[in-house]
């Protein structure tokens, strides 16, 4: 089975482990394996606040350099924060000569100090941004092809109205990310169509959910999430599809606070795109970590028929 280098990031190892597991299950069904890096550290979650703080680029640069040294030229991430940070760091290294020099000078000096790394006596080669950082969804769209998914469907999601939620860092800043149109994206819509479900278009799909403000100004995040969720509900969505652990947390767990603040609000289940993918590919429900969701997902699962007649494989 083909293997692709994979950087899970911290959230997927613990608090969003269901995103990690469903992604691994789904990709195996699609014929390739997410090959986790041997050694990796936190990527820093957000790019530094200014170009002066070059130290904040060291951790993601080291990860990328290790990927190149291990012989891969593609790195898959799923968490939108890791994707944004690694991709933007790579962009800086590729385009800014001064940043590239400073980072490499530091990395060359720092590598021998890392005890968990094997001693490496090979000649130092500057990291110039050779690795291509891609999102799992991007890999499915461009490398594998959504058609491949449609051909392998084991359960039918027909009739489900799913609202894609992009959030901010998956698409923007567009000159560095270049995943899709920042104002009118379609990558998740096409993914939903590939699952044979019906994508719902609604105006707030690229609006921010509050991101880390959920911690520093929770009320502001509650208002933002209410606007997003309500917009999707008004357009007839049964559930929302996300890819980012923080979007998931904000949109899912925050529904408790939203229900307290807005009387008219009705809860709506949130899914990671990988969960729906692996469900549609025939992985059993018990492996999806649905117990970690705040909003009950069973009404949606009940709608997912065994209409294709194939049901559980495992």
């Amino acid at each position: 089975m083909a293997k692709v280098a994979y950087y899970p990031g911290c959230a997927l190892k613990e608090r969003s482990s269901h995103l990690d597991r469903s992604a691994r299950d789904a990709t195996v069904k699609l014929g390739f394996e997410l090959d986790e890096l041997d050694t990796w550290t936190c990527c820093g979650a957000v790019p530094p606040v200014s170009k002066e703080r070059i130290m904040n680029l060291i951790a993601p640069s080291r990860i990328l350099k290790n990927v190149r040294d291990s012989g891969s030229d593609v790195l898959i991430t799923i968490c939108d924060f890791c994707y944004n940070t690694l991709k933007r760091t790579n962009y800086s290294i590729r385009t800014d000569e001064i940043i590239r020099k400073r980072i490499n000078t530091f990395l060359a000096d720092d590598t021998p100090e890392r005890e968990y790394l094997e001693k490496d006596n090979s000649q130092w080669v500057d990291y110039k941004g050779e690795v291509k950082v891609i999102h799992l969804m991007e890999y499915l769209r461009d490398e594998l092809g959504y058609k491949q998914i449609t051909e392998n469907l084991k359960r039918s999601l027909k009739g489900l109205k799913l609202a894609p939620y992009y959030g901010c860092v998956m698409l923007r800043p567009q000159n560095e990310i270049q995943l899709d149109d920042p104002e009118n994206p379609s990558i998740i819509e096409d993914f939903i169509s590939a699952l044979d479900a019906q994508p719902v278009k609604y105006p707030y799909r690229t609006e921010c959910c509050g991101s880390y403000l959920s911690i520093s100004s929770p009320d502001a995040s509650t208002r933002l999430c209410y606007r997003i969720l309500n917009s999707a509900i008004n357009k007839g969505a049964d559930a929302i599809v996300v890819s980012c652990p923080l979007c998931f947390y904000n949109l899912d767990s925050r529904q408790k606070a939203i229900a307290e603040a807005y009387q008219d609000f009705k809860p709506i289940p949130i899914f990671y795109f990988t969960q729906l993918l692996s469900v549609a590919l025939g992985v059993e429900y018990g492996r999806q970590g649905f117990e970690k969701h705040y909003v009950d997902v069973t009404p949606i699962l009940d709608k997912i028929g065994t209409s294709s007649g194939k049901g559980d494989e495992e």
Partner: protein, 147 residues
């Protein structure tokens, strides 16, 4: 949230511009750190109208840029606006003059942090909340909002 949603009131008393303050080097520092041509801003207001958090801010993003042009450092770094920005890049994507406004906001935070204005510390977080938020949120909030 201000009572007049989405509309920050005119400043009262009005800003007093002095040559000394305008030329004190604040604007130059912002340009240097962010790499953004803040002088290109012609106040179209696209950033503020697209900002999902504009309603929570007491100075709208376009006015922040104007204050930077005028070197009004104290007005900016002692205001809640720069800490409310969630770095969602909506303004950056929509700016017709190509200013990365989010980078300017980040730079203003860094300047505020350098001046010792810490917005959010580990003691301000609810431990129950901290136990369940995904890690990128925790790492992000401290890297953006505290030294």
């Amino acid at each position: 949230m201000s009572e007049n949603m989405g509309l920050a009131p005119p400043r009262n008393p009005p800003i007093k511009l002095t040559r000394k303050k305008v030329r004190a080097g604040f604007k130059k520092r912002v340009i240097e750190l962010s790499g953004q041509p803040v002088d290109a801003c012609y106040q179209c207001g696209n950033c503020s109208s697209g900002c999902p958090l504009a309603q929570e801010m007491s100075i709208l993003p376009n006015r922040i840029i104007r204050l930077v042009q005028l070197g009004q450092k104290d007005d900016i770094i002692h205001n809640d606006t720069i800490w409310i920005c969630a770095s969602c890049f909506q303004c950056t994507v929509r700016c017709p003059k190509g200013i990365d406004i989010q980078a300017v906001m980040d730079t203003l935070r860094q300047i505020a942090l350098e001046e010792g204005v810490d917005h959010f510390g580990p003691d301000q977080i609810d431990p129950e909340h901290a136990a369940e938020v995904p890690q990128p949120g925790l790492v992000g909030v401290y890297r953006k909002l505290s030294t």
